[in-house]
Subunit: 643 residues, 2 copies
Amino acid sequence: MSRMSSSTAGVGPVRLGPQARAALRPTEAPAVTGGFWYDRRVINAQVCIPQGPRLLESAGNLHNLRLVAGETEGAFRGDYPFQDTDVYKWLEAASWQLAQDAVAGRDTGALNAEVDRITALVAAAQQEDGYLNTWCQSGRGDGRYSDLRWGHELYNAGHLIQAAIAHHRATGRTELLDVARRFADHIGTVFGPAGSGRPIDGFDAHPEVETALAELYRETGDRHYLDLARYFVDRHGHGLHGHEAYCQDRVPLREAETVEGHAVRQLYLLAAAADLAIETGDESLAAAGVRLWHAMAATKTHLTGGVGAHHEEEDFGDPYELPTERAYCETCAAVASIQFGWRMALLTGQARYSDLIERTLFNGFLAGMSLDGESWLYVNPLQVRDGHVDEGGDKSSRRTRWFRCACCPPNVMRLLAGLEHYFASTDGRGLQIHQYASGVFHGEADGAPLNVSVNTDYPWRGRTAVTVERTPGTPWTLSLRIPQWCTEYALGGVATDAEVQDGWLRIHRSWTTGDEVVLDLDLAPRLVSADSRVDAVRGCVAIERGPLVYCLEQADHPGGGLDDVVIDAAGPLTVKERPDLLGGVVTIGGTGYRRSLPEPGWWPYVPAGSSQAPGTPLELVAVPYHAWANRAVGSMRVWLPTS
Amino acid sequence: MSRMSSSTAGVGPVRLGPQARAALRPTEAPAVTGGFWYDRRVINAQVCIPQGPRLLESAGNLHNLRLVAGETEGAFRGDYPFQDTDVYKWLEAASWQLAQDAVAGRDTGALNAEVDRITALVAAAQQEDGYLNTWCQSGRGDGRYSDLRWGHELYNAGHLIQAAIAHHRATGRTELLDVARRFADHIGTVFGPAGSGRPIDGFDAHPEVETALAELYRETGDRHYLDLARYFVDRHGHGLHGHEAYCQDRVPLREAETVEGHAVRQLYLLAAAADLAIETGDESLAAAGVRLWHAMAATKTHLTGGVGAHHEEEDFGDPYELPTERAYCETCAAVASIQFGWRMALLTGQARYSDLIERTLFNGFLAGMSLDGESWLYVNPLQVRDGHVDEGGDKSSRRTRWFRCACCPPNVMRLLAGLEHYFASTDGRGLQIHQYASGVFHGEADGAPLNVSVNTDYPWRGRTAVTVERTPGTPWTLSLRIPQWCTEYALGGVATDAEVQDGWLRIHRSWTTGDEVVLDLDLAPRLVSADSRVDAVRGCVAIERGPLVYCLEQADHPGGGLDDVVIDAAGPLTVKERPDLLGGVVTIGGTGYRRSLPEPGWWPYVPAGSSQAPGTPLELVAVPYHAWANRAVGSMRVWLPTS
């Protein structure tokens, strides 16, 4: 804590630049102090992050750094040119954790020491001219920048830069930032438009360095980094990678009509576009961000917030192509969607971006980590069939201790470790609460600081109390997001009246310390159905409660599988607190039946209108989707047939 | 024709061995002389096969042979170690075509010359010890048999053997057969169980050589080939390829409960298992064939007969996982399903195997070739969405002139060229008609030859006349398959009464030359729905008529896409002969509507029971699925929502 400079403490994953043109700004030093996310972050802090170095050791990532640092001998270990990023993402996670620990006054000694040790290793691995990539330095591949399609060198650099910024913000120290700047400066000498005198006019087919460079500009004030980010973003879509959608090269973002290609690549690129729109006021990039986000949300997002319909090429599918059992919904794509969405929320001030962030956080993202923090999912399907054959491996529907391609686990760690930064913002005239979690959030009104404390058992209970802890004398606006899923709410406390504005509840008044506002969101469970263009779930409903998507698991329905289960959509839904189950969840009960399906005939297609044998009544027990796959291996389904 | 030995003329893709224990035997010298398949085979003979050598030249396959034959210089061209098989499959197709032409008395000079030229090239490329693989011989890969998982060397050998058998049967000549035997003999010196003294105990992860070796035994009478086939089949499933389903190594066939892994690999292996069951009486392999075929047909086959639910790994999916837009349904997998099914039909005598062959031929297989024979589909989806982004390439839903991985086109050519051999059989007590096509089919009763001529406009019209052309004096049984889709039929002519036996109509009587039997299958169009476990098409119906599956194409529904089209399942279906359309088809008209879908909101999931705007009436025009994608690029769908 002593090492932390107060000027940087707690400034999170996005910090706007001095000329930024955004509707909202992230708040300084937010803190989550209890409740749902606090508990998940305790697991992250006590299980996931501490285990990181050991897992990176056994997977070979640290060996590879030592190898090119000349500290050991042997060959590169692992199969991928992007393995350094696992280390960088862990360093970023650990750094945000250090910031949190510092704010909370917890001892940071052990973690700091691990971070220092690995930072030193990274620094030792860097080459004289700033280049750093263990795959290439150890002789794999065909040499520096020879394979921009698959080499991932700038993608590696991007994650290094993001880790370094986190480390600098958390500790005020510059060891890792110096390494990152040297690499960024080196990249700036290599890449540039034809005629610039720089040898390569091109870009890495896996975006990431772009948004990292934008943030490096914010951290250092050096505008060259922003210019380099803009150069890279603008080179996409002109055929340098054969106009392949996979490489984010089919069309320029400014002309694109929808999200396409590899989901993570698309969303990291869009995060950078939003950064550039914020920092430079580029209106056509801002418009592209709005347009593509809407195309994604309206036509290519699963109910869980997960994105990516194809296993092959980890690709967004066509509009409304949203399969259940083959939903790809990579955990990293959920992270990327949240990162893009948050930048759009800041840029536009609109609530809907945080609506989707909430949905993604509680469902498609959180499902990626086991309840105990010990194992992971890479893909997050919405259905696992009876008789599913699972051979294990990275794309398994069983949780796995670590992956051969281990991009997701440290990505979850870094997002969780800095999560409080996605929860509130200020527009300079008050405070906006985007996500409901117990904690302290700071804002600003006409240059004066203010802060509130939030108390809630969300998402299990709908009541959130916001207490003004510090306030200037002049009136300001407290904005509370009314989630898109919510149709009934009540406002109480000192304010019972408020303006409703496009998803925001705006409470404008003169505040006194101790003023409490109580927002009560109705958490009655509900059934939802999909737009009829979503062919995959026709004739089905899904159960939701608050921001949580629910699913059936085989473990709660003994005596059969789930392929033959039907829900009575007119039946009652009952809510039950189950502190004993899955670390403490609220389950939803429903009524339905199990079809009396005949033994399969030899051919599964029959004359339309064939009568169906009635089923036997069945009590349905739905659990939160994010908690699935934490018990015995079995089938699961989110979408339930109604007949 | 002069070169054709009468003893081999027209003996098709499967010829049983002298000790075979099968219910049925293929018939000798069948001929298709008119009608639907005749027309498709004219295209095959006049467009596809003649163009083959030029396409193989431009793709590099012939260059690769010349390269290793020392007739040219340079490097291997192409990306795959199995490119020789494109040449072999073309040689097989050309050979069956030669046999057909010979039977029909057509001039075979030009095609014979091409076959001779390419056969000489193959012979020149073979190494002294019999080994032949241009990938490996040209220095690609790590040397002979170093990569049995991906090297495809025995897969190459299998197709060489099959081509050689076809050539030998068609022409009586042995040039290609000698090459194939040398390679097969070489393989026999290399592969064998531990302790056999042969250096490698293993198998090629892409089956094909197994069924080819079984046929080579049939062709040569040399039992070593059958033993080698059995050795390879039995080595699957014991972990030599890490128990990977993709490599057909998860479990031995005798223990497998369902088809799994790469669809073509699975089905070629099962074809070999059926061959072994036929030739050796192996009951557990026969049982595996029955069990796995039924698991495939009941739970893993699309309405079109296509198989393969996953693009990734070209894999069978889980039971009832049968997506529409991502149906893989590789054209080669349709070929493999037909080959496996025919062997099972011979083994068991049951009609259902030919039911599925019929469905696959008319739909999932035939869709792979354009109407003009100039372009191809590798994958055969059941839906192309409005707004589908298609970047071209092998897996495109647009037809392509030739593929980078060009396995499918010559596979279609070889199956079409020998197709008549799948149409009839004899059990020694008469004749079984499996598929309805105009032509002449031979059988046998108590050792005496018999034959019939068949006259039909099937599948456009339901009437088939069978006329006895030659008959012994003793009674025998004419068996006509009543297709599984058929619920109404009439029998006329000399026989109006018959025994119905598990899909066969058995007409046992004393026959006189000129006797005519008329079978009239009711071709009223019908709607079918899927087993409720097929989640992907819940709430949908498909249109069928006779053996044909129909689809909607955008071209017939101007003014909008197909994502918003609904069929009125209670409305009438009308039949229209359209000689002007798609080379002459019967279309089915239906009534439906186009939903008045709102502009997409930002989120596609809504409270269940939300009301839907009514639609505008729409005349639906359905065309045969096999004829889709022969007009302007656009959306297509087989399964139609009913509300």
